[in-house]
């Protein structure tokens, strides 16, 4: 597929669609974080249940700043939601940075398959 057709397929310039796409994606991510914080927040995984039956709990060797996706000292779900949104942005920036590190100039081969 030619370079021209890549741009035409989106019906807009890549830069414009990237910004629009990123913003739309972040809104979707915020909705997902809201669902995970306010509605589906309780986590009882199989592994936790089996470990509990044995009478021991997993622990964290290194102290994490936000254990269980919460800000220590704040019980408010709204704070957890904001932490979730900030975390999503952090993941986005980290992935962007790694992607830049691995990328090739515009118009090169694209992501390699297996």
């Amino acid at each position: 597929m030619s370079e021209k057709s890549v741009e035409n397929l989106d019906g807009s310039t890549p830069v414009h669609s990237d910004k629009k796409g990123l913003l739309s994606g972040l809104v979707v991510a915020a909705v997902l974080v809201a669902l995970g914080t306010f509605v589906f927040s309780e986590s009882i995984e199989t592994l936790d249940v089996k470990a509990e039956e044995l009478g021991f709990e997993g622990f964290s060797l290194l102290p994490a700043p936000f254990p269980e996706y919460t800000v220590p000292g704040f019980e408010d779900p709204l704070v957890n939601f904001l932490l979730g949104v900030v975390s999503v942005v952090l993941v986005l920036v980290a992935a962007f940075a790694v992607g830049r590190l691995l990328s090739s100039p515009h118009g090169s081969r694209g992501a390699p398959s297996a």
Partner: protein, 227 residues
């Protein structure tokens, strides 16, 4: 499926770390300089979205909950090597910022979710896409996503079972427990992966030309054609 600290024996920790880091090094080598820079925003966005997806814990069987992995969609949309790197970013940040998965178990978690969880779905997708036709590709995506989740969980069960006496359940209990529960999650992962792959292609059709692995899905009059 995130294994915390204290569940794995030292040999299993060492073995899984060596395997995961070797694979990560191969992935970096494979994609370094080969990723079209126009794919990067989509890679970053998908990574962030699946991080968010993993925060949603939905109820399954026996009073337990589960969350989607997102690894199959990352592997299919970004390619296996970049998909693995993308999933690794999620796991590393979850481990060090949120204590979701232990630092001693990071190698095992990478092996289960960023390697098996990405590679198995991609392999099935790739195999079925060679058969041609929209239906075959859809079946490949669904089966791949299902098996990616289940086999990742079975691997976690094996790592835990082989860690006895640290984790006191042996393989005969740990593997079925993880596998059965994750077969339910696998079904959900299959449907979600199908939806994510097709909707991403619909929203951003340029991904078809940016990722060579997806070139078989270039829309034609039949919807999808095999090249």
């Amino acid at each position: 499926m995130h294994i915390p600290d204290g569940f794995l024996s030292l040999p299993i920790i060492a073995f899984t770390y060596v395997l995961a880091i070797s694979f990560l090094a191969i992935s970096f080598r494979k994609v370094k300089g080969n990723v079209d820079e126009r794919l990067i925003p989509l890679m970053a966005l998908l990574t962030a979205l699946f991080f968010a997806v993993q925060m949603i814990n939905y109820p399954i069987i026996g009073g337990t909950t589960a969350h989607l992995l997102g690894a199959p969609a990352l592997g299919i949309l970004l390619g296996p090597w970049l998909g693995s790197i993308s999933m690794t970013i999620i796991l590393v940040l979850q481990c060090f910022l949120f204590a979701d998965g232990g630092v001693t178990a990071l190698g095992a978690n990478m092996l289960n979710m960023a390697i098996i969880g990405v590679m198995v779905p991609y392999a099935f997708y790739s195999f079925f896409s060679k058969k041609g036709g929209k239906k075959a590709i859809g079946i490949g995506i669904f089966i791949g996503a299902f098996l990616g989740d289940v086999l990742g969980a079975v691997a976690a069960g094996l790592e835990l079972g082989l860690s006895a006496p640290v984790f006191q359940y042996g393989v005969s209990i740990a593997v079925p427990a993880m596998g059965i529960h994750h077969s339910v999650i696998g079904l959900a992962e299959g449907f979600v992966t199908l939806a994510v792959v097709y909707s991403t292609i619909k929203i951003r059709p340029s991904i078809l030309s940016l990722n060579r692995g997806l070139s078989v899905m270039i829309p034609s009059t039949d919807g999808v054609r095999n090249e």
